[in-house]
C-alpha cells in the first residue's frame, strides 16, 4: 500500500466515521432518555438524502406524503384521546401541530421544488420535512408504551422500521440517488488530495457534536435530558416532564439523522433501504464505545469508519462482514467485566 492510498483511505474512513459518530450520539441519546433502541434512525438518513437529491432534480420528494400520513396518524390518536376525555379545548392545538404544520411544510416544499433554489435552501427544506417526523413517531409508536420493557420497545422499533422502509419504497421507488457535492473543490495537501466535501462533513459533525455538548452542559433542557437518562422516576419526582423529554430526544435524533443524510448524500449512492445499514453502523460505534459514554461512542464510530474504509481496500466483498462482526469481540470484553444478574421489570 502506498502512502497515497493510505491517506486516501484514512480520509474516506474519517469522513464516514464522522457521520457514524453523529448517529451514535443520537442513538445513545434516545436510548438513555427513553430506553428505545432506535433502529428507525436509519430511515431519517434515507429520507433526508433522497429528498435532497430529488429537490436538486427539481422533483417533489415523497417525504411530504410520509410526513402528512404520520401527522394524520398522530392527530387521530391525540384527537381520539381528547374526545374520550371530552377535552375539546385540546383539539385546535392537535390540528395545528399534527395537521396544519405538516401540510404547510408539504405545500412549501411542493411550491419550492420546481424552482430549484440554492442548495442551502434545499437542505433547510429537507430538515423541515424530516425533523418533525421524530416527535411524531414518538407520539404514535412509543409514547403509549413509555413504561414497557427495553425488549418490547425494541420490537416496536423494528415494526416502525418496517413501516418506514415500506413507505420509503412506495414514495422513492427502487432507484439509487446521489446528490451534488456542497463544495466540490479539492485541496492538495502534500501528496494527497483532500476533497472539500470531506472537510465539510467532518467540520459539520464536529460542530454538531460541540453544539450537543453545549446543550447538555449549559441549557436547562439538556440538563433535564441528562437527569431523565440517569433516573426516570427521580426526574419525574422533581417535575421534569418525561413525555416532553421523549419528544425532545426524538426531535434531536431526527435532526441528527437528517443532517447525517444531507452530509452523506453526495458521498454514496443511497437506495430506499440503505439508511438501515448506515444507522446500524452508528450502533456498532456506540457499542464499541461501551454504550454509555458520548466521547467513547464517537471514538468507536471513527474506528468503524476507518475499518470499513481499509477493509474495502483489502477485502471489499467482506467489508460489511468485518464491520458487523467487530461487535462480537467488544461484547466479549464488556461481558468479562460484568457480573450482575440481569432480570426484567414486570
Amino acid at each position: 500500500m502506498t502512502t497515497d492510498i493510505f491517506l486516501w483511505l484514512t480520509q474516506d474512513g474519517v469522513t464516514n466515521g464522522a457521520i457514524y459518530a453523529l448517529l451514535a450520539l443520537a442513538l445513545l441519546l434516545v436510548f438513555t432518555v427513553t430506553r428505545v433502541i432506535f433502529v428507525p434512525q436509519g430511515e431519517f438518513i434515507t429520507f433526508a438524502a433522497l429528498s435532497l437529491s430529488l429537490l436538486e432534480a427539481g422533483r417533489t420528494p415523497g417525504t411530504i406524503y410520509i410526513l402528512m400520513i404520520a401527522g394524520l396518524a398522530a392527530a387521530a390518536i391525540e384527537a381520539f384521546g381528547a374526545l374520550r376525555e371530552r377535552a375539546w379545548r385540546r383539539l385546535p392545538r392537535i390540528v395545528l401541530l399534527y395537521v396544519v404544520l405538516p401540510v404547510a411544510v408539504a405545500a412549501l416544499v411542493a411550491w419550492a421544488a420546481p424552482r430549484r433554489f440554492d442548495q442551502w435552501i434545499q437542505a433547510l427544506l429537507v430538515l423541515a420535512m424530516v425533523v418533525p417526523l421524530g416527535p411524531i413517531l414518538y407520539r404514535v409508536a412509543y409514547q403509549p408504551l413509555a413504561n414497557a420493557s427495553v425488549l418490547v420497545l425494541f420490537i416496536v422499533s423494528m415494526a416502525v422500521h418496517y413501516v418506514l422502509t415500506g413507505l420509503s419504497l412506495v414514495f422513492f421507488g427502487g432507484e439509487g440517488l446521489r446528490s451534488r457535492a456542497f463544495w466540490d473543490a479539492k485541496f492538495k495537501l502534500g501528496v494527497v488530495e483532500i476533497s472539500a466535501q470531506s472537510i465539510w462533513v467532518v467540520a459539520a459533525s464536529v460542530a454538531l457534536i460541540l453544539a450537543l455538548w453545549f446543550l447538555f452542559e449549559r441549557s436547562i433542557y439538556g440538563k433535564a435530558l441528562r437527569a431523565t437518562a440517569m433516573n426516570r422516576v427521580g426526574a419525574r419526582l422533581v417535575g421534569i416532564p418525561i413525555v416532553m423529554m421523549g419528544h425532545l430526544s426524538f426531535l434531536l435524533a431526527a435532526f441528527i439523522g437528517a443532517v447525517s443524510g444531507i452530509l452523506i448524500a453526495p458521498i454514496t449512492t443511497l437506495y430506499y433501504d440503505t439508511g438501515f445499514l448506515i444507522g446500524l453502523k452508528g450502533f456498532v460505534g456506540a457499542i464499541l464505545g461501551g454504550m454509555g459514554s458520548y466521547p467513547l461512542a464517537a471514538l468507536g464510530s471513527l474506528v468503524v469508519g476507518l475499518l470499513e474504509s481499509f477493509s474495502s481496500f483489502w477485502a471489499s466483498a467482506f467489508k460489511e462482514v468485518i464491520v458487523f462482526t467487530l461487535i462480537i469481540p467488544m461484547l466479549a470484553w464488556l461481558s468479562l467485566r460484568s457480573h450482575h444478574v440481569e432480570e426484567e421489570e414486570e
Binding site: 415494526a159 415500506g166 419504497l169 461481558s335 460484568s338
Partner: protein, 588 residues
C-alpha cells in the same frame, strides 16, 4: 377428554388429512408454515419464556441449510451427516455468541444478533463455495430407509413430524424441573440464583436450543427446496420470525404455530394483492406487517394465543395434591451448638453510603436469631451479603466454616442456606406448587434433555410431592393450583417460606415473614418456626413486629446505621439504653 385435548386432536387430524385434501400450492405453503413454526418455537422459549431476544435466527437457519448444502453437493455426503454437520456448527456458533452476551443487559443480545445476522448474510452472498448471490443448487433429496423424500407432499410429512416433535418436547420441558427454572429467568433471576440455579448457563442452554431448532429448520428447508440463495436468510426474515412469536403469543408453545401460520398466509396473500396497487414490484407487505405489530404491542402484548386458550380452557381438576412419591434425600444436619454462621467485620458500601460496616456476630446451629433495627439499618443488605446476592467489600463471612463473602448465591445455596425476600419474589404466573418446587431445585438433577423426553417423571413426582408437603406445612394446602400472584400478600410470604423449606435448609433466612399476616396466621407461623428449630433448622429472622420477635427468638442482634449496637437475650435488649435510643431517638 377436555377442550385442550380436543383442540390438539383436531389440529393433528387436520395435519394428517391436509396432504390428501390440499392442492400442491397449499401443501408447499404448509411446509413453509412448519419450517417457520420450528424457528418461532425457539423464539417463544427464548423471548416469551426466558426473556432473551434474538433477531438473528435466520442466520442459524442459513447455517443449517448451507452446511448440509455444501456437504451434500461438494462432498457428496449423506444428508443425515449434513444434518449433524449443520447442528454441530450451529451449536458452536450459538455457544460463542451466547457466551459473549448472556451476562450483559437484555438489549445486547438482540443488537448482537442483528449485527451478526447482517454479517452472515453478506458472508453467504460473497463466499465462492456457497455460490455467492447466485445460490447453491443441486442439493439431493433425503432418503429415509429407502424412502426418497423428493416431493412437496413427502417433505410435508418430514417437516411436520419434526415440528410436532419439537412442540411436544418444548411443552414437556416447560412442565419440569428445568422448565420451572427457565420460567423464572425472565423476571426472577436473582431468586433463581438464590436457589442454586445457574441463570447464565441456563440462558445459554436455551439460546443454543433455539439455534438448534433454527438449524434443523434450515436442514429441512435445504432438502425440501433443493436450492439455496442468501436472500432467504436476510435480516428481514429474522425480524419476521420474531413478529411471528409476538403475533402468536410469545409465552405459549402453541403460539409458535399460530404466529407462523398467520404471518406466512398473510404474507402470501399480500404478495398477491399489493403489487396491483403499485407500479413497480417490491416487498410492500412490510408496511402491513409493521402496522399490524404496533397495535398488537400497544393493546395485546400476549398475542393471539390467549384467545385460543380461552376456547380450550383446561378442565382438569388441579386442586388435588400431586400423587404420593418417595421422599427426597435430606442433607446431613450439623450437630446442635456447632458454629453455623460467623461474620467478622463484614462491610458493604453503596457509593459513599456504608450500608454495613464492620459487622461481626456468630450464630449457632439450632438457634433462632432475631436481627432488628430501625428502617435503613442495613438488615436486608446483610441478608444479601450472607446469601451472596451482593458481594461483601470487606471482612469475612463463614457458613459452616466455608468462606462465602465472594461466593455467588447459587453456590451458597448448596451449603444449605435458603431465604425469603422482603419484596415477595414469586413467579406470578406459576402455581403455588410450582413456585415451591423451585426451592427443591438442587435436590433434583435431571436436565433439559431428560425433561423433553419425559425421562425424569420419577424424580419430578418426588420433587412435586416434596413441594406439596411444604405447601401443606405452611397451611396453604387449599391453594396448590392457584397462580401465586392471585394470593393475598401475606399468603405469598408463606409461599416464600414453603419454597425455602423445600430446599431442605440448615440455615433459613426470613426477611419480614410476618408482614401482612393476621394475628392467627402469625401465631401459626411462630408455631411453625419453633417446630423447625426442633428439627434442627436454624433461623435468622428480620422482623419489625416486636411481639412476634420477642416471644420467638433465642437471641437478638440490633443494628443501626450499618453497625451492631447490641447483642443478647431479648429481655436484656429491651432494657438496653443504646437500643432504646436508636428506636426512640436520643435526648439532645
Amino acid at each position: 377428554m377436555n377442550a385442550g385435548r380436543v383442540a390438539l386432536a383436531v389440529f393433528v387430524a387436520f395435519l394428517v388429512a391436509a396432504p390428501f385434501l390440499l392442492s400442491e400450492f397449499y401443501v408447499t405453503l404448509m411446509n413453509y408454515i412448519g419450517l417457520a413454526a420450528l424457528v418461532t418455537l425457539g423464539l417463544v422459549l427464548l423471548t416469551g419464556v426466558a426473556g432473551l431476544m434474538s433477531f438473528g435466527q435466520q442466520a442459524f437457519v442459513g447455517i443449517g441449510a448451507y452446511a448440509t448444502g455444501v456437504f451434500t453437493t461438494l462432498y457428496a455426503g449423506s444428508p443425515w451427516l449434513g444434518l449433524v454437520t449443520g447442528l454441530v456448527l450451529t451449536a458452536l456458533i450459538a455457544l460463542a455468541l451466547g457466551l459473549v452476551t448472556v451476562r450483559l443487559s437484555g438489549h445486547y443480545l438482540p443488537i448482537c444478533t442483528i449485527a451478526w445476522g447482517i454479517a452472515v448474510y453478506f458472508l453467504f452472498g460473497n463466499l465462492e463455495v456457497l455460490g455467492r448471490y447466485n445460490g447453491l443448487g443441486g442439493i439431493p433429496a433425503i432418503t429415509l430407509f429407502g424412502w426418497k423424500i423428493d416431493s412437496g407432499r413427502e417433505s410435508y410429512v418430514l417437516i411436520w413430524l419434526a415440528t410436532l416433535a419439537a412442540l411436544l418436547a418444548a411443552r414437556n420441558l416447560l412442565d419440569s424441573r428445568a422448565g420451572r427454572a427457565v420460567r423464572a429467568l425472565r423476571f426472577r433471576a436473582t431468586m433463581a440464583e438464590s436457589f442454586g440455579i445457574d441463570t447464565a448457563q441456563l440462558k445459554l442452554v436455551i439460546f443454543v436450543y433455539a439455534a438448534l431448532l433454527a438449524g434443523l429448520s434450515g436442514w429441512l428447508y435445504a432438502h425440501f427446496l433443493r436450492f439455496l440463495s442468501p436472500g432467504a436468510f436476510n435480516v428481514n426474515i429474522g425480524i419476521e420470525y420474531l413478529f411471528m412469536a409476538v403475533v402468536g403469543g410469545a409465552s405459549q408453545v402453541w403460539g409458535a404455530v399460530i404466529g407462523a401460520s398467520v404471518l406466512t398466509l398473510l404474507k402470501e396473500w399480500l404478495k398477491d394483492i399489493l403489487p396491483k396497487f403499485f407500479e413497480q414490484s417490491g416487498n410492500y407487505e412490510v408496511i402491513v406487517f409493521g402496522l399490524l405489530m404496533l397495535p398488537l404491542l400497544h393493546r395485546a402484548r400476549d398475542g393471539l394465543m390467549p384467545v385460543f386458550a380461552r376456547l380450550g380452557r383446561r378442565t382438569r381438576d388441579r386442586t388435588a395434591p400431586p400423587q404420593a412419591a418417595a421422599a427426597l434425600a435430606r442433607r446431613a444436619r450439623p450437630a446442635a451448638g456447632e458454629a453455623l454462621l460467623r461474620l467478622e467485620g463484614a462491610c458493604k458500601n453503596f457509593g459513599g453510603l456504608a450500608a454495613v460496616r464492620g459487622l461481626s456476630f456468630e450464630m449457632k446451629t439450632g438457634e433462632i436469631l432475631g436481627l432488628i433495627g430501625p428502617n435503613g439499618a442495613g438488615k436486608s443488605t446483610l441478608f444479601n451479603l450472607v446469601t451472596g446476592v451482593l458481594a461483601a467489600d470487606g471482612g469475612e463471612i463463614r457458613v459452616r466454616g466455608a468462606r462465602v463473602e465472594s461466593m455467588p448465591a447459587r453456590r451458597i445455596a448448596r451449603l444449605g442456606v435458603a431465604r425469603t425476600f422482603q419484596h415477595v419474589n414469586l413467579v406470578g404466573s406459576m402455581s403455588v406448587l410450582e413456585n415451591v418446587a423451585i426451592g427443591a431445585h438442587l435436590r433434583g438433577a435431571r436436565g433439559t434433555v431428560a425433561a423433553m423426553l419425559r425421562l425424569e417423571r420419577d424424580e419430578e413426582r418426588r420433587l412435586l410431592h416434596e413441594a406439596a408437603r411444604q405447601v401443606e406445612r405452611v397451611g396453604l394446602g387449599a391453594h396448590f393450583a392457584d397462580a401465586s400472584a392471585s394470593l393475598p400478600l401475606g399468603q405469598q410470604r408463606l409461599v416464600e417460606i414453603a419454597r425455602a423449606l423445600a430446599a431442605d435448609p440448615v440455615l433459613l433466612l426470613l426477611d419480614e415473614p410476618a408482614a401482612g399476616l393476621r394475628y392467627q396466621e402469625k401465631q401459626a407461623l411462630a408455631e411453625l418456626l419453633r417446630k423447625l428449630r426442633v428439627e434442627g433448622i436454624s433461623i435468622l429472622l428480620v422482623e419489625h413486629d416486636m411481639d412476634f420477635v420477642m416471644g420467638l427468638v433465642d437471641r437478638l442482634v440490633v443494628m443501626d446505621f450499618g453497625e451492631k449496637i447490641a447483642e443478647g437475650l431479648p429481655r436484656d435488649i429491651q432494657a438496653n439504653p443504646a437500643v432504646v435510643e436508636a428506636y426512640l431517638g436520643g435526648i439532645e
